[in-house]
């Protein structure tokens, strides 16, 4: 990705073409673990967005200063620092959500997608593009989480953001593990289908890991 790429392209890439979840199959754990409710999915997305942006900012700002030999450990340190910040903030101010998905917030630290962006983009670019890249990536993640959790909550609980539409639970399994895997699998297939059908793509999603 060159520096000339416009900021808009950067965001579009993150949200659509290189969506960490549907196209790259990265950072899958929270994708399934917290997406049984729209609210949880959204909060997770926000948390990741925040971390990604802050990490990109920090790293691009410090990139000239960091010695290449200890690049990766420093990156990890920075990421875990920001995750800790988010973790503490949520523990204090978003307690209900945090109680349900605290572990997965802490696990943001190990998201391959965050480290990958830091390494591939932020460590080579200026603050502003890195910021935009972070937004693009983070929003992509957020959108994916919202799509998945939208379907799962709607089908599984018959509600959205906690507001029930029907008295029954239409397809309870959707909020259970099986439903999470189904939702991601079927959405991935759907994007592949679009790719094949309208863009003549190969439909092969997923770089390993």
């Amino acid at each position: 990705m060159s520096n000339q790429a416009s900021l808009g392209t950067l965001i579009r890439n993150g949200v659509l073409m290189e969506n960490p979840i549907f196209r790259l199959a990265l950072s899958l754990c929270p994708t399934i673990a917290v997406t049984n409710k729209l609210k949880n999915g959204f909060m997770m997305g926000i948390a990741v967005l925040f971390v990604q942006v802050m990490v990109n900012l920090t790293i691009s700002a410090l990139r000239k200063f960091i010695h290449p030999r200890i690049r990766l450990p420093i990156f990890m340190l920075i990421i875990s620092g920001w995750v800790t910040v988010v973790d503490m903030l949520m523990a204090a101010y978003a307690r209900a959500v945090y109680k349900e998905m605290g572990l997965y917030i802490e696990l943001i630290v190990a998201f391959a997608s965050i480290l990958a962006r830091a390494e591939l983009f932020a460590s080579k670019n200026d603050v502003m593009p890195s910021f935009m890249d972070g937004i693009g990536q983070g929003v992509g993640f957020l959108v994916a989480l919202c799509i998945i959790s939208f379907f799962r909550e709607l089908l599984g609980l018959g509600s959205l953001w906690g507001h029930a539409f029907v008295a029954t639970k239409p397809l309870l399994i959707m909020i259970l593990p099986t439903g999470g895997f189904f939702a991601v699998g079927i959405l991935m297939a759907f994007f592949n289908w679009i790719d094949i059908r309208f863009f003549g793509g190969s439909g092969a999603s997923g770089a390993a890991h």
């Binding site: 639970k169 397809l171 309870l172 399994i173 259970l176 099986t178 189904f182």
Partner: protein
């Protein structure tokens, strides 16, 4: 001689030039036939409602299979009988109570059929490629989605047209929740219980209750060599042994294996569902391990787990291991000794 040559049209194909009469569809239809005694017994005890549910499942499966083939532009092979058999088995695994329109519950068997045919079978490449037993996956799916309707059992009545909905618990349900004494209270004595279990005069899924009818069908398949003894015998044997050792309340070796053998979905599962070619290992040694695994998991769930009945989950869990068993157990190649293997 020139004339002879001109007159004749010679068909050329590769050897062998003769083939056996057996076909895939004949196998599927014969297995369906072997299920006839059990389904008749189900209809006898659960009446018109059972008929309704079973037919609904069969039709849904056939329709979904056909529609899927149309959507993906393949030639529909509904006549091969495998979708019919799947539908029949889905139906036989449903409680007859699902016939109800109010509360509206007839969508449940339809969704089971959808999951069976489209998700479990066709998404994986269709006949021959599915990893999991379609009928059982369909059932597991709806059990999780609608646990309440799926655990409401009609009382077996002999009146075919009865539309009342008297419900009761299954023998295994009673055994799990209240223990043997309660079971004896309901059925009088052991002999009475065995008799009920054999004939099918107990609550349960439509096609699972009559052990004797299922046994007849299973032995028929065995006789026709459509299945081999390996899976049923190792499955049932493991259940019997474990039930005897761990099934008793008074300590080890005091359990009653017969109750466990005759009740629940065991007979249906061991003879007709664990033996599904597609989802079980193809080597005999693998099949025996598969059967033992099914038996062990069944008893683990029945005795220790959260569900009163474990056959369905046991078979599905072992389905996960079938490809592994096929990979691990290979045939003994003629003239190839272990150390000689290159």
């Amino acid at each position: 001689m020139e004339a002879t040559k001109k007159e004749h049209y010679l068909v050329v194909s590769v050897s062998p030039h003769v083939k056996s009469e057996e076909t895939t569809s004949r196998i599927m239809w014969t297995v369906s036939l072997a299920l006839l005694p059990a389904i008749l017994s189900g209809l006898y005890f659960f009446g018109l409602k059972a008929l309704f549910v079973t037919v609904l499942c069969i039709l849904s499966c056939l329709v979904f299979e056909h529609l899927y083939m149309k959507v993906v532009d393949k030639t529909s092979v509904v006549s091969d009988g495998s979708a019919f058999l799947t539908g029949l088995l889905v139906g036989m695994n449903m409680p007859a109570s699902l016939w109800s329109f109010s509360p509206f519950e007839v969508h449940i068997p339809i969704i089971a059929s959808l999951v069976a045919i489209v998700i479990t079978k066709q998404l994986f490449g269709g006949l021959g490629f599915n990893i999991f037993n379609p009928a059982l996956m369909g059932r597991a799916f709806i059990l999780i989605c609608w646990p309440r309707p799926m655990t409401i059992w009609l009382h077996p009545t002999s009146s075919f047209l009865a539309l009342d909905a008297k419900t009761t618990a299954t023998p295994l349900g009673i055994l799990k929740e209240s223990g043997m004494t309660e079971l004896m209270k309901v059925f009088g004595d052991k002999a009475g219980l065995y008799q009920h279990l054999l004939t099918g005069n107990v609550a349960g899924s439509i096609g699972e209750t009559s052990a004797i009818a299922l046994l007849i069908g299973g032995l028929f398949l065995l006789y026709k060599r459509y299945i081999t003894w390996h899976i049923p015998v190792s499955f049932l044997g493991t259940v019997a042994i474990l039930a005897w050792i761990f099934g008793g309340k008074e300590g080890l070796f005091t359990g009653d294996p017969i109750i466990h053998l005759l009740s629940g979905g065991l007979m249906l599962g061991a003879w007709f569902m664990a033996t599904d070619y597609v989802t079980s290992p193809s080597m005999k040694k693998g099949q025996i391990i598969f059967g033992i695994g099914c038996g062990g998991l069944t008893m683990l769930i029945r005795l220790k787990g959260g569900f009163p009945e474990g056959v369905m989950f046991a078979i599905l869990l072992m389905n996960c291991f079938a490809p592994l068993l096929d990979r691990g157990v290979k045939s003994k190649v003629f003239g190839l000794r272990k150390e000689a293997a290159k």
